[in-house]
């Protein structure tokens, strides 16, 4: 069964690549760089999804005080960090292609950097606490505090500053930014593929992390 799922996922992602580079037409005005949308947006979406996963499991850590929940919270945060790095890098290259500068502190760039800093501080805190029970509690508190503050950055600050970034998937007008039908198809195909890939990797990483902790002598 796992082999079957793995193969199906591999074929799906191969389909995403084909769709992104061959099937979908380039967007009007942006040219060939518009193909980056099939990578940049799903990756950013996944990093936010990982952040929310980590937030939910952090609440569970505080409520049930179980190390099993902490494994999931940490793994989600670690994956979120890497996806966030990818989203930042692809975003910077795209900004160079369209705005002619890698970085200009656009509100969206601010929020992704803060997300990156939150993740890094989260791991900084984890490595600074020795007692396992204390470690999971304090890390959970930090993750929840960061999640309480996030809406201010994601929803409020971009409305106060002018942003060059195109409207996000969930926007005010409720309209999608993708004009072409084929682009839309590939985009949602890619979004679903990356989401499934996230769950697959998450499951694998949780199992690995559990083994690592057992080896370190944690009671999980």
């Amino acid at each position: 069964m796992p082999v079957l799922i793995g193969t199906a996922l591999f074929l799906w992602m191969a389909g995403v690549m084909y769709g992104a580079f061959v099937y979908a037409p380039p967007a009007e005005g942006l040219g060939e760089t518009s193909r980056l949308i099939f990578l940049h947006v799903p990756v950013a979406w996944t990093s936010v999804m990982a952040f929310i996963t980590s937030f939910v499991y952090s609440i569970l850590v505080l409520r049930r005080n179980r190390h099993e929940d902490d494994i999931r919270a940490e793994v989600a945060a670690r994956m979120g960090l890497w996806y966030c790095v990818l989203a930042t890098i692809t975003g910077a290259f795209w900004a160079k292609a369209t705005w002619n500068t890698y970085w200009n502190w656009d509100p969206r760039e601010i929020s992704i950097v803060v997300l990156l800093l939150v993740y890094m501080s989260y791991f900084g805190l984890r490595s600074a606490v020795t007692d396992p029970d204390k470690k999971i509690r304090l890390a959970a508190v930090y993750a929840i505090l960061a999640a309480i503050i996030m809406p201010f950055l994601v929803f409020v600050v971009p409305r106060m500053y002018m942003s060059l970034h195109p409207d996000t998937l969930i926007n005010n007008s409720g309209k999608s930014q993708l004009a072409d039908v084929r682009m839309k198809q590939v985009f949602f195909f890619s979004l679903a593929g990356f989401t499934l890939l996230y769950f697959w990797l998450f499951n694998l990483s949780v199992r690995i992390e559990r083994l690592v902790r057992r080896k370190e002598g944690w009671n999980v």
Binding site: L145, F152, V156
Partner: protein, 222 residues
Amino acid sequence: MSYASKIYAVVKKDALEEMRARYAVNSTLLFCVTCLMVVSFSLGGSVSDPRLQSALLWVILFFSSMMGLPRVFIKEEDRGTMNTLRLVCEPGQVFIGKTLVNLFLLTAVMAIVAPLYIILLNVTLRHVGFFILTITLASLGLTVVSTLLSAVVAQARARGTLFPALVFPVLMPVFLIAVEATGRAFEAPSPWDHANLLVFLTCYAVAALVGGTFLFEYVFSE
């Protein structure tokens, strides 16, 4: 003792300690003034862009508060008096009490540093009321978040370096908006058109206070 009187007791204890040694106020203020001198000296006393003036002011205030604010819990942890606090008070009382202590400290520092900054950097402050409201509301959010995270950091190693790293991302919204609002108080014809900046700072402080009071219980209890 009632709920409020225990909060008062926490504040009074720290205030008495501070009166005797003046450790926190002195060290924070000295650091702040040093920062101010470094900035003022290296710029030669004049920066004309109001946006830059306000950014520099907030950089100084941010790093100064990073020196002083974490002390409220670190000192308890170092002396081993944290358990006494746990015995005597409920978490909410300790959190509110310590937040008030930090708020007094920060207000004292701001009351000295802000006028000094305006004099030394030759800033024209056009809207005093807007300016005072901005720093008051921003320091409220700053204090609440710093107090909660100082209780977190007190239980970790490498506290001095970890604290600013933990606080900064969470405080980023306040920082951004405070710089913007202060810049408007320095220059813009009518900053009150941008009163939504102040509303933002208030909302942030309230959200941080509610979240902080709830989360503090888990940081504080053993």
